[in-house]
């Protein structure tokens, strides 16, 4: 057999697509895929919104002994849960599925830079989380008398808690995606601990009703600190009295969330596998 492949001259010269361009394109694709998968939309995206409607119908008026409305309290918790759902749960399950169904294997055979895959995931996580937050706030304001803070510094707090929280939780999710053995087991392996975490982190149940050892466990993970930070935004100074320590402990929240960003990054860099358990 003769005849070398007739390589067009452009082949060698054409530049490889940039990380930015391919990352953006992956973000669009991930988002398209996300909203076409009923499981992901129901469990990750719609869950906090459904809960808000349920809570809004059950709890009305003010928290006993205070002037703080229940809507402020649970909206703060549900925003924390929504942010962690969009990042930790979404990535923990999504990447496990990508590893199992051949997505990662397919990408490994292309010139796509590794960074572009993660850029796509990050864009998807940000979009899902922001959409969730906006819907939670809009529903709260329109239907359940939620009052948005008017001081600028509260929104600044919201911003840093959101950014640190979503980054730490996303990294934790990427690391956790290596735990499920298959796509089938992924939603159980990732969702069960996440539901438990929501119960012990003050999303549904006030801290005052939790035994101390559960609080200690919750204090290790980002969700408790995110919720605490968001409560400082939506409950204001008067709400600090509801906290266990009588303070929102924003400095500690920043510390723990920051530690998750750093630790999560190290965890991902050291444990992330592109291959499934069965691949050589």
């Amino acid at each position: 057999m003769s005849g070398a492949p007739a390589a067009p001259p452009a082949r060698a010269a054409a530049p490889l697509p940039s990380i930015a361009a391919t990352g953006w394109s992956r973000g669009l694709l991930e988002t398209k895929t996300f909203f076409r998968e009923r499981d992901a939309v129901v469990f990750t995206f719609a869950f906090p919104i459904v809960l808000q409607v349920v809570f809004g119908s059950i709890f009305r008026g003010a928290v006993p002994g205070t002037e703080i409305s229940f809507a402020q309290l649970y909206t703060a918790g549900l925003i924390g849960a929504a942010v962690m759902g969009a990042s930790f749960q979404n990535l923990g399950i999504g990447i496990a599925v990508d590893r199992d169904d051949g997505t990662l294997r397919r990408l490994a055979g292309t010139p796509l830079p590794h960074g572009a895959y993660f850029t796509g995931k990050v864009l998807n996580v940000l979009l899902v989380a922001l959409l969730d937050v906006v819907i939670l706030l809009a529903l709260g304001v329109l239907m359940y008398d939620l009052k948005l803070p008017d001081e600028l510094f509260r929104w600044a707090t919201f911003a840093w808690v959101f950014v640190l929280g979503i980054t730490g939780s996303a990294l934790l999710g990427i690391a956790a995606s290596g735990l499920p053995r298959s796509a089938k087991s992924a939603s159980a392996v990732i969702s069960l601990p996440f539901v438990v975490l929501q119960f012990i982190s003050g999303v549904f149940v006030p801290f005052t009703q939790l035994p101390e050892w559960l609080i200690t466990i919750a204090s290790v993970f980002p969700l408790k600190w995110m919720c605490q930070g968001f409560r400082s935004v939506f409950l204001g100074d008067a709400g600090a009295a509801l906290e266990l320590t009588g303070s929102y402990e924003l400095d500690r929240a920043a510390l723990v969330l920051g530690a998750w960003v750093a630790g999560g990054l190290i965890l991902c860099l050291t444990t992330f596998r592109w291959k499934g358990r069965r691949d050589g």
Binding site: M1, A4, A14, K32, T33, R105, G109, T110, G280
Partner: protein, 290 residues
């Protein structure tokens, strides 16, 4: 002019006690269709995935388009197309969305619409991949393998599980790609597939190459002894000979014309193949067959 697309020397890979690939040598020229033929578990996927830069190896030298796949760069990946053995990804995306998206990974991609035509999926272009038949899904895999205009295309068992009609369609597609100058390396456990498509075949059994060559000459088939059989005194007689024509002439003289129920046969490719992979199971005879 011929160029070497793939060169392998002493390739080895083991999983615990299993020698998945054992002391493999390969030379594949640019522009040819080369088949790695062997039964399940022979080591085909292991070998091909090492060449693709997907798996690590334990020993040996490998050069694919002049690069050691262990040190694959993005530039190199853009020149190599990969069709994995199994894939269930992109289920919720349509065929067209997927092809357009993957085209964006490459410096010099093919036109997604042309590729759609080529794999005969233009009429299914806006169907979600989840809804495709097995044969259509496999053609999407091939389309994704060639969307980057590769010089070299690896196909791991491209037609396993397809019905005969879908298989033939895929064969024509592969021949079509080869005609345009793409080097094709495919694995298969179908003998007829290797025979129909490949210019050269390496038979793999138990991780070792037990025979290599054009399908017609495989395992000494062309030079193998022919068997002449006929009926004499109500009994079937036979002679194995390297010169069957002489034997037949002698018989004709003896019978004074027609020889009753005369036949001359050579071992079929299937006979040769079964003997080869049978021997591959016993490492002691593996060397002598080659």
């Amino acid at each position: 002019m011929t160029r070497t697309a793939v060169k392998v020397r002493g390739l080895a890979k083991r999983y615990g006690e299993v020698r998945a690939v054992d002391d493999m040598d390969l030379d594949i020229q640019a522009g040819e269709i080369f088949a790695i033929l062997g039964p399940n578990g022979a080591g085909k996927s292991t070998a091909v995935e090492i060449l693709e830069g997907y798996r690590d190896r334990d020993a040996g030298e490998v050069s694919v388009l002049g690069v050691d796949p262990r040190h694959a760069t993005r530039r190199w990946r853009a020149r190599v197309g990969v069709v994995p053995q199994t894939a269930g990804d992109a289920a919720e995306l349509t065929v067209r969305e997927t092809l357009r998206h993957f085209a964006g990974y490459y410096p010099n991609p093919a036109d997604p619409e042309e590729v759609l035509d080529r794999v005969q999926l233009a009429d299914r272009a806006d169907t979600r991949i989840r809804r495709l038949s097995g044969g259509q899904r496999r053609r999407v895999d091939v389309a994704l393998g060639v969307i980057g205009n590769p010089e070299l295309l690896f196909l791991d068992e491209p037609t396993t599980g397809l019905d005969p009609e879908a298989r033939r369609r895929l064969w024509r597609l592969i021949e079509d790609l080869a005609r345009d100058g793409t080097t094709i390396v495919l694995t298969t456990h179908y003998l007829d597939e290797a025979e129909a498509l490949a210019g050269r075949v390496a038979v793999l059994a138990g991780g070792r190459i037990v025979a290599e060559g054009a399908p017609a000459t495989l395992g000494g088939r062309a030079t193998a002894q022919a068997r002449v059989t006929w009926l004499e005194d109500g009994r079937r007689e036979h002679v194995d000979t390297g010169t069957p024509t002489t034997t037949v002439q002698r018989l004709a003289r003896r019978f004074g014309g027609e020889v009753p129920e005369l036949s001359v046969t050579r071992p079929s490719l299937e006979d040769v193949y079964l003997r080869l992979i049978g021997s591959g199971a016993e490492p002691t005879t593996a060397g002598s067959v080659r």
